[in-house]
């Protein structure tokens, strides 16, 4: 993001008081390039896809984006430690199908894919009429063993994309930066008030 635009957006943002350190943090993280880190689960290609997809799903604006809170690294660690064998398998197969689709569309290896090119492909799968979206979401609830051979490839592709989307949201809203600087952080409330005007509080509580 252009620093000047970022500053303008910050000053224009309403209902959200930004402290000086926050401004600094947001601006200092305005590099969309992949930060160097070593993956523990993701292959190079998967890492490349995940990084761009996270940036597409949660882009930076006047508040931090997904890459500012290291979501690809978080997803990588979660897939190693937390996700089951079945989910790992679905993720890897789905990622391969996405990469293959990318190759077909652009003639390029996924590792050479730019954010814009990956966005174009992502939109093909995600920018759909509402009924189509509902059908896909419904289908994702079905167990893999119940999916027919002809549907399998599409099913796994969406498993991959939904998982990246899930970890983007989870990683973003459970991150320290967002938890403390964007959402309302109150580690020791001391009281419980059951019915308060939302205006008095503003954003959602982070804890």
């Amino acid at each position: 993001m252009n620093r000047r635009t970022a500053l303008k957006n910050l000053t224009l943002s309403l209902g959200y008081v930004v402290s000086a350190p926050t401004i600094f943090n947001v601006l200092s993280s305005c590099k969309s390039d992949v930060v160097t880190w070593k993956s523990v689960f993701l292959s190079e290609g998967e890492k490349h896809m995940v990084t761009h997809l996270v940036d597409i799903i949660i882009p930076a604006s006047n508040i931090p984006g997904g890459l500012d809170v290291n979501i690809p690294e978080f997803l990588d660690r979660m897939y190693l430690d937390v996700e089951t064998k079945l989910k790992k398998n679905q993720f890897q197969k789905g990622a391969a199908i996405f990469a293959e689709s990318f190759q077909k569309k652009t003639g390029k290896d996924i590792l050479k894919g730019s954010k814009e090119e990956i966005l174009t492909l992502f939109e093909m799968y995600f920018k759909l009429p509402e009924e189509k979206q509902e059908e896909i979401i419904e289908n994702q609830r079905v167990k893999e063993s119940k999916i027919t051979a002809s549907e399998k490839s599409n099913y796994l592709l969406y498993k991959f994309l939904f998982s990246v989307r899930y970890y983007s949201l989870f990683g973003y809203f459970s991150s320290e930066k967002v938890g403390k600087e964007v959402l309302n952080y109150d580690p020791v409330p001391g009281v419980y008030h059951g019915c308060v005007p939302l205006d008095e509080i503003g954003n959602a509580w982070s804890l």
Binding site: S61, F170, E176, A204
Partner: protein, 564 residues
Amino acid sequence: MQKRYDAIVIGTGISGGWAAKELCENGLNTLVLERGRMVKHIEDYPTMNKDPWDFKNRGEKSLKDIKRQPKQDRTGYTTRPASKHWFVDDIKHPYNETKRFDWMRGYHVGGRSLMWGRQSYRLSDIDFEANKKDGHGVDWPIRYKDIAPWYDKVEKEIGVSGQNLGLKQLPDGKLSEPMELNCVELDLQKNISESFDDRVLTIGRVAHKTGDALHKGRSNCQFRNRCIRGCPFGGYFSSNSSTLPAASDTGKMTLRPNSIAHEIVYDEKKGIATGVKVIDAITKEAIFFEADIIFSCASAMGTTSILLQSKSERFPNGLGNDSGELGHNVMDHHFKVGASAEVDTHQDKYYKGRRPNGFYIPRFRNIDKKSKSDSFLRGYGYQGGARRSGWQRAVSEMSYGTQLKEELTKPGPWSVGMTAFGECLPYHENKVTLNYKKLDEWGLPTLNFDVEYKENEKKMRVDMKKQAIAMLEAAGYKNVRGYDSPCFPGNGIHEMGTARMGHDPKTSVLNKNNQIHTVKNVYVTDGACMTSSACQNPSLTYMALTARAANHAAKKFHKESKKK
């Protein structure tokens, strides 16, 4: 180390802590045995102040952890990094299941008083008379008036916040300032009162300190809702924050962690128990401690295992087991059934603080002629709450981009849900036995569970779901959805009934003072003593019965000492 004491207490959980405190405060030199490790209040709560980002994997449980705790993981939440250290390693502490039984427990000083749900409701005479009236199980040897003063004492000392309603099925208590209901819960409360003349919604009664009463070393609940990790404020009651420090203050308590009590030794000539056989959990050294009085507060199943292992010529089937009921009549509360709904009003309202409590709808079935059900006996209560949703509301969507992100920084729509907790009848065939073929690493037999919910519970569940739906629909909420998920015995973590109280030694193990009928210097005051399960969360009753029994024991002890 001293080998002889006035009293021995086995266990440091919610019952053991109370036994220790009452015996020590009555001047008895008391040895308190805990099979697990030491846990000091505040000092040993490693996760008490952690935010989600402070945990590895943001607090999600890892595959590696679950491998050691496959059974403890059956709750779904206890094995997360925030609390997994309070639950046993299933590989190290195995048990056997003829039928699935979810035995959730922790071996450490404080036991489950550290991780308990803190909901605290009195039983009433409707409960104490239930077995006698419908013929299931045996009659309780006590009535409400016998336990009422002890409920008073316990509530005052532990601090229970809540609202008195003057209901016969839920007696009033000595309660401190109630927590607040939120806007939607208040709305539901009003709607239920308008649409139903047989039920009410109230704020839960919880063992949290509110108001002005003084409780040594504890401050008021700070509404962090991290209770399961141990509370640095002592905001809720636990053995560690309250009863064990009180016992320690008397100078009469010797607390010995890492001490696996496995047998209570019976003296044929004297006709009483003389002490407790212990294995040091770490050194594996065998030790025998003697005492005049023994309190078994090792949890229902722990106590049952110890009593079953305590064999002698007089008691070949376990200490005090003339009736053959020891290990039988296992009960728990069946739950995981209820309803939820979305609420599209109150969008301009929110709450402040994380209330470690919800609402309660006390039992309204089978409490009088009018409320009698044709399909099932006994009753159930609901626990629930309303809240505004977080980012999770967007998981099943295909939205993305800045708009999604910014929208999710705001609280989502309100939802409300309730879960019923139902009484389980005492069935003789629901039992736990010892398995001597599968020994643990200390060479002790392991427990085998053969327990199931039966017809009465199943029929009750139909009504539990139906009434939850009816209340949410009457309130006019949207997308009301009932649910009835599989629920296995044990998962309520209210296991009880295996050494029941009763009038008759032929059909019960304990008398009205929680003494073993035929071994009067052994008291059992944990969940094992329960004659029926009622539908209320049971810990408050364990504490009241323990305080009552400990004072009975101490009085007797002093009377007999004078004679000597």
